[in-house]
């Protein structure tokens, strides 16, 4: 082999190797997150199987799995999931919609901000769970009080996120809009909206996270169906596997809905100049 040929071969090999390594790491990286929970679950399973623990209060993964299957077979899991999901959807929709309108108004208009923001900040200081007794008195123990509580939980992160984002839009970009003589409406559509979108999406995601937190509080305060009801039912009837199954269901659906928002927003945020490690 000539010297040139050797040089080419030497340069080609690492490139090929690199592409294989990058493909492998693309598959391996997400898997890395499973290492810790799977190891812990397997260890617990082995400990119970070996009889070192009865696993009565902390059931092993296999028992939780079969509880999951049983709940799904009777249709209870689907029904409870659907009920909880619809409560979160209604509360999130309501809270996010009101927060978007109020946040946009206070972000855009200093007068409205001076008028509304101090009161809203005052309300924010109240732990939202403290509203529960009042909501039950006002709205009864059924859906309305639960949805309202979730909406209150969702409202604050979205409101604060959007108002802050509008206030921190780069003045220099707004000036570009002015130099091109954009109308107020065009300024909002072509400059403000795209500029606040990344922060708005983050605030929606943290709002949704709080929505899932508050649906549990709402269902714990009295419900005859829903994943929160499964938790109470498991506690009262001494069925820890049912409690863990409900917690796992919360985790899966919570993560899935968060992922849906991120996925829906991704095409609009491709321009972002952020650090991408993947």
């Amino acid at each position: 082999m000539s010297l040139v040929g050797m040089t080419i071969a030497a340069e080609g090999a690492p490139a090929q190797e690199r592409s294989i390594v990058s493909r492998r790491s693309r598959l391996l990286r997400p898997a890395l997150g499973f290492v810790l929970p799977v190891t812990l679950a397997l260890a617990w399973e082995i400990i119970v199987r070996l009889g070192w623990s009865t696993g009565r209060l902390a059931p092993p993964p296999s028992v939780i799995f079969w509880t999951f299957v049983d709940l799904a077979r009777t249709g209870e899991l689907q029904r409870d999931t659907l009920v909880t999901l619809s409560r979160v959807a209604a509360g999130f929709g309501l809270g996010a919609a009101v927060a978007t309108i109020v946040g946009a108004a206070t972000g855009y208009s200093p007068t409205l901000r001076r008028l509304l923001d101090p009161s809203l900040q005052g309300l924010r200081a109240i732990p939202s769970i403290a509203w529960i007794p009042l909501f039950i008195l006002w709205l009864g123990i059924f859906e309305a009080s639960k949805v309202t509580l979730i909406a209150v939980g969702v409202f604050f992160p979205v409101y604060l996120g959007l108002m802050g984002a509008i206030q921190s839009v780069d003045r220099k970009l707004v000036e570009v809009g002015r130099a091109f003589r954009l109308s107020d409406f065009e300024m909002v559509r072509r400059i403000l909206l795209p500029a606040v979108l990344p922060a708005y999406v983050i605030s929606l995601r943290s709002g949704l996270g709080l929505g899932w937190m508050f649906v549990v509080a709402a269902e714990l305060m009295g419900a005859s169906e829903g994943l929160g009801y499964l938790l109470i039912d498991g506690q009262q009837l001494g069925k820890p596997a049912e409690i863990v199954a409900a917690i796992v269901a919360f985790a899966i659906i919570g993560k899935a809905t968060d992922w849906l928002i991120a996925l829906a927003a991704a095409p609009f945020l491709r321009w972002e100049d952020v650090v991408r490690h993947d």
Binding site: K172, E175, A179, E186, L197, R270, W271, E272
Partner: protein, 263 residues
Amino acid sequence: MLVLDRVGKTYPNGVHALGGVSFEVELGEILAVIGGSGCGKSTLLRAIAGLDPPSEGAVVLDGERIGAPHAKIGIIFQEPRLLPWLRVADNVGFGLAEQPKAARAQRVAAALKRVGLADKANVWPRELSGGQAQRVAIARALVPRPEVLLLDEPFSALDAFTRTDLQDHLLDLWADAKPTLLLVTHDVDEAIVLADRIMVMRPRPGRIFDEIAVDLPRPRDRQSAAFDFVKRRVLAGLDRSLNRAPSSAEDEQKAEAGAAMWW
């Protein structure tokens, strides 16, 4: 014709930034306004752009008083200020929203080709170098075919090589439609390379101190004796504008060292 009639600006906090600036600029003329930091040259440019209307006097373009951004006036800022959520082509076409899509695409493509970035039409602004981004900003300002183009220290953030390159390129683009160019700068070389006339400003409040005609044929040789002569004249004017005694030895040193950046 662009006419400034005793244009003054006092900010609400009492700062008297501009004190009665008057001059006229013919259509197609290139005028450079030069001066140290805080002499009010950017305030003057913003008043002409209609972004910060003057508190006294008037800016009049073709008989029309300018109090807000105007269709006939384009502006290029110190930073490219591209909208990061729009691809390069959409940034260039930003001021053509009312045009039919096909006509817009055609003009954008032509402008991008003209600034040598036809292959960058579909990239995001974050993928451009500083010089490329400023070229896009130039294309964006020129595409609506303004009668007056204002430039606020447009190349000051770029490296020396890119700056020289873009100065030549700007002249090249200017020759297409010959709009009036009004350039604010603190770079003496840049003012002499580009302008037909140089206005020296003095600060507190900002006003015109000196006016120097640059009668050199284009393209201008930055190394020529004639260029050097004008440069000394401008530097001396700048020194006098700050009540500094012009020292010929110092001037020579500045010229020799190429220290034409006058802050």
